[in-house]
Amino acid sequence: MKQLSVIDRILLLFTAILAAYQIAVGIDGVDAVPLWAYTTGFGVLLLAGLLLLIFGFEALESQLVVVVSTLIPLALSVGLVWEYLPGWRAPYALFAGAGFGLVVLTRLARAGRGATITLALVHSVAGLIIFGLPLLLSLRGDVAPSFALVGLGGGLIGLGGLLLLFLKLGRPVLSPRMILTVLPALLLLTLSAFVAGFAAGG
């Protein structure tokens, strides 16, 4: 497994600081549910940065990390749906809860293929919402154009998730070393896009 370089450490430290900043300042004018949903998403990103700093890339081998990292897209997408698609609040919250529960169960049961399919399904639905909804809203002029940055963040985190999934499956599109080399930068870029997008406001 690749060791953390100095650059990796700096990038991860900035990621953690940026996530901590976003949690502390919060997001203006949102209800309690989206606020806590966003806090959960940014919180997991903060913890991801810290745990990678402490344990190195070995942390990615833990089943716990796979389960907890599912919370990033799920929590952020719940926040977005709650804010911008009020009619879908209950069904989507149900999907997110059930999806997370299934990810936990299939991981605990070591369901192999079933676990991978569940994870991919839950990630892709949540990822598409984070990617597509902000883009759509900003294109329609419902929100500030720079809110599209949240969508960019969604795209980047989706890309990171895919790379890690391929790595786990042993069929990486890039070499494992390359994936781990780009991962800290990808995390920081993702977070920067989210923070800038949310700062621009909806």
Binding site: I23, A24, G26, F42, L47, F55, L64
Partner: protein, 288 residues
């Protein structure tokens, strides 16, 4: 050789005697606790005096410990390179300097504020006399007194700012108290053979690794809980409290994981995370 070169050389010899990282962290707890009372920062004279007296007292106390524990340090691989066992500094020299710094630190603290001075003195007394001289070689429970002394800079800083000893200061001191066993126990597992060779009674030697890991996990969580209580008492903003909830969640997750799947690396990671947590919380108290 010029005077400046000579001084630089002496400083380089003495510097490792104060364990700069540990001293720096304890100093930070004192400064953060003082700042948490929302004293006017413009009162820079008090801030400088607090920094100076605490630095002197903590450094003096650490030097006196190093002087007393020089025989143990010489038997342990991890500490054999320290200035006294390695022969860089003579024991009498370390004792003299340690006493000088300790007296200057406590004296300055009493002059600054009698209550603050008493708490600083208590920290030094618990650390050197109760922990190092009396209990460290007798019982693994000595670490509790190590924790009590570690919490004193925070209590002292808060007492100086608030003018009295109140529950927020006690909560801050308890947070450090619960963190210190985490630190000592992690090292006593990591350097188990070293401690056994030196004849120092440790938790893992007396109660086993499993019980020690459980104690570390519980102790880390109690430290986080106390820090949360103190944060509430200080009146941190909702955003900062939210951030502390997230960081505490990470600590809880790691603590539970380290109990379910115990391993040395996970245990060491928990210790590092708990230390980072304490540092972040103290910085929040300091800055926000």
């Amino acid at each position: 050789m010029t005077m400046a070169t000579k001084l630089r050389g002496q400083l380089r010899r003495y510097w490792p005697l104060i364990k700069s990282l540990q001293t720096g962290l304890l100093l930070l707890t004192g400064l953060a606790a003082y700042m948490s009372t929302r004293c006017p920062v413009s009162n820079w004279q008090t801030l400088v005096a607090l920094t100076g007296t605490l630095f002197l007292a903590i450094s003096g106390s650490t030097m006196l410990n190093m002087w007393y524990d020089r025989d143990i340090d010489a038997r342990m691989q991890r500490t054999a390179g320290r200035p006294i066992p390695s022969g860089t500094v003579r024991p009498a020299e370390a004792l003299r300097l340690g006493l000088l710094l300790a007296v200057a630190g406590v004296g300055g603290a009493v002059a600054l504020d009698p209550l603050y001075g008493v708490v600083v003195f208590a920290g030094l007394f618990f650390d050197v006399v109760v922990y190092t001289v009396w209990l460290k070689r007798r019982t693994p429970w000595a670490i509790l007194w190590g924790g009590v002394s570690g919490g004193m800079p925070a209590l002292a800083g808060r007492a100086l700012g608030a003018g009295t000893i109140e529950w927020v200061g006690v909560a801050l001191a308890l947070a450090v108290l619960f963190w210190i066993p985490t630190h000592i126990m992690t090292f006593s597992m990591r350097y188990f053979e070293d401690y056994r060779r030196a004849g120092v009674p440790t938790f893992p030697a007396r109660y086993g690794f499993r019980a020690t890991r459980m104690t570390i996990a519980i102790s880390s969580l109690l430290a986080a809980l106390m820090m949360g209580v103190a944060a509430y008492g200080v009146g941190l903003t909702v955003g900062c409290l939210r951030l502390m909830v997230v960081l505490s969640g990470g600590l809880l997750l790691l603590a539970v994981h380290s109990l379910m799947r115990p391993s040395e690396s996970l245990n060491f990671g928990l210790f590092k995370y708990a230390s980072l947590y304490m540092l972040s919380a103290m910085l929040l108290f300091f800055l926000v």
